[in-house]
Symmetry: C2
Subunit: 489 residues, 2 copies
Amino acid sequence: MSLGCDRPVLYCLCTIFLSLALPSLNLPPSLSQGTRDYNPKQMAIRERVFNTIIRCFKRHGAETIDTPVFELKETLTGKYGEDSKLIYDLKDQGGELLSLRYDLTVPFARYLAMNKITNIKRYHIAKVYRRDNPAMTRGRYREFYQCDFDIAGQYDPMIPDAECLKIVHEILSELELGDFRIKVNDRRILDGMFAVCGVPDDKFRTICSTVDKLDKMSWEDVKSEMVNEKGLSEEAADQIGQYVSMQGGMDLAERLLQDAKMSQSKQACAGLTDMKQLFSYLQLFQVTDKVVFDLSLARGLDYYTGVIYEAILTQNCPVNVSATQNGVDEKAEEGVSVGSVAGGGRYDGLVGMFDPKGRKVPCVGVSIGIERVFSIMEQKAEASARKVRTTETQVMVASAQKNLLNERLRLTAELWNAGIKTEVMYKKNPKLLSQLQHCEDSGIPLVAILGEQELKDGVVKLRTVHSREEVDVSRAELAEEIKKRTSDV
Amino acid sequence: MSLGCDRPVLYCLCTIFLSLALPSLNLPPSLSQGTRDYNPKQMAIRERVFNTIIRCFKRHGAETIDTPVFELKETLTGKYGEDSKLIYDLKDQGGELLSLRYDLTVPFARYLAMNKITNIKRYHIAKVYRRDNPAMTRGRYREFYQCDFDIAGQYDPMIPDAECLKIVHEILSELELGDFRIKVNDRRILDGMFAVCGVPDDKFRTICSTVDKLDKMSWEDVKSEMVNEKGLSEEAADQIGQYVSMQGGMDLAERLLQDAKMSQSKQACAGLTDMKQLFSYLQLFQVTDKVVFDLSLARGLDYYTGVIYEAILTQNCPVNVSATQNGVDEKAEEGVSVGSVAGGGRYDGLVGMFDPKGRKVPCVGVSIGIERVFSIMEQKAEASARKVRTTETQVMVASAQKNLLNERLRLTAELWNAGIKTEVMYKKNPKLLSQLQHCEDSGIPLVAILGEQELKDGVVKLRTVHSREEVDVSRAELAEEIKKRTSDV
């Protein structure tokens, strides 16, 4: 170490000071913006929600796949339009340019093209990443789950599309989130409508984006955006306004097929004919009570080519009110909706974008807005008197006397080997009270208590935590007795 | 557009040509190096393995948590020593500097410190990321699963440590991977041994890393690295050589406590006393048949402070041979091992690194080497005659006659509503043969066949796929009958 001039000395002293001071400079650890940990309680709720959804997907014969969390950057390029700026890129550390997946649909299409798969019914539950402005109190994160079900393959029209809607109906019913509506429309009907209303061809997508805002903005504001920002004629906008206020069922599709203007568009007619067909299948599936053909539904993504849909919760029940307080959706206060909880549609062109020869694989799918579902379920759990258990432990092996650690461990291993979910305290001589308290806290229903007398008699005192009732059970029958008493857990 | 000179024109023409040619220039899509998709068959195997492991973790009363896939870069800094160069960083797109998680242990420690948790038994199954040289045929990926179980808290010595070893024993037994050994050692015993053998204090970690290579290198090569690369005296190396060849059980710990040299180290004595205690608990848990106290076990990571362990498969059964052919481990050919399938140890200092006041939370944990388990299970599945099912579908609704689509859909919805996993073909008039073929291909055990006659009679022809036996079942009893016949699926 050279001490030849002042500067190195100062530098060295600073370095020494800094490294000595470092331990106390330790900042409290924190998370990256827009992300969160799931604690055990949130995980227990998450597991229940996933189980319900996966059970439904499996009931419909779906397989599952998984793809990497990052893809080659070029795989995601040109798929998301304006939203591409929200894609997370990895640092160039040598090698390929990589990005975190933005959704599960593009990786699915890449997977199909890469493996030359032309038929599959698959679900995929995984996290996706968007550099959006996080609004965590409103349930908007930068890392969040998507829960997708898609059917790929060349089939007769509207049959898989109807199954997707049936799945949304089943999942939302089983999750007991309150009343809901599923809005349905078709990109071909929208495009046809734009054409007959006099929207220039090159403005279809941008006008479609504006229509998409009708669930958040009034018609007046939407019209003003069309006319003032997008340069549409007022006459065209007014004509659109008439159509997008229409809602109905199969009857509306029939009426529009007779509509003097609408019937001029071949595209619209194709969409309307399919819409009639879709409703006939939905009748067979007994789900028409919740489905509305709604001409204002547009959906943001570019890649849809046919039917589109979106499910919203309509009930303004206490649960939804607290969701509103949490800011999940502004409109909920007005008793309208807490926003979209599922959405999807048909995208027949996406797989072809990945195929060297452009071979298309028609696809239709649905994505469950699982983060919103989580926050509703969490609030429901908060509001409920019933405690969320974070373990499934059936019994705690305890003792009131000292020096019985070895006996406790021996019995614990016996129960583990018999498949019983068992806990034991990692202390030589824990107090009985603290052992019982742990059971109360974590909802363990039974305690197996060992004492000198019980060991002599070859029994265990089995205590029911909530009733405090105790009964001697022979050691040989203990596992069976615990299974019997916790079969409903 | 300026056409003032040749170059811009050429440039423009090229651009036009390129963009026109783009659709046919579409390259086949590919994956980022070192990553892979899981197809439905691999997912079915993965689900089975996870279920076995999670069942074990739950049997031991563990909760689960989840953390984000990326952390603040500073959270990971200074935790992995030399391996830090393998951390994936995200691109600086404005905002915080982020990195993909490298393991689940550091995020767990960050989670405990951040939430001031001093007691928890948790498992965490999630993907981690390492910019390693991928060797995918050897099961080494850049994105791979970790499967961690950890116990945090101040407890009496060796009780949670013994439970971790019991868990490894249970999981490896239940997965039926063949015979295995669990090697155990203690960082304090290693450090004490280095001290009494004359290794200078500042060389402990680097000599420890060299000892860690004994499972891949001969003693001669290890010794040569110690002497020639790390500058250790030959005498010290030879003394180490004597110790690291020792293997045993509680008896070895007792012998070393009497060892003239070893007993001079307070650290070694503390470790050896705990080792005796550990073996006494392992006896109560009935797992000593597989556990070996092995002084050559060192483990790479810096953060271990006490007991360390590693499980290896020892059987050179056909499965392992094919694992060898796949290159999983070079030694397998010699019938020694197919490498480590689980590992872990005690790390009492890591949480304190995240606490502003340095408060420590003692931790002990184990990580299951799940990717290696997957590849063994996949090879087992390949070798087995039994087909891996990728769906759980119980019945296919079919018809032999035309124009029965609506009737098929109606019955399908009835079965879905009754909780039966049901598939139906998305074609108006599929051939009976192709419907039956689909059942054969995907292992669907039953077919519910509808025809004009059956509809008239209010029955369904229920066909067992493997026996081709058919029986009429009344529509009202169909769901129950299917449940009964597929209760073992």
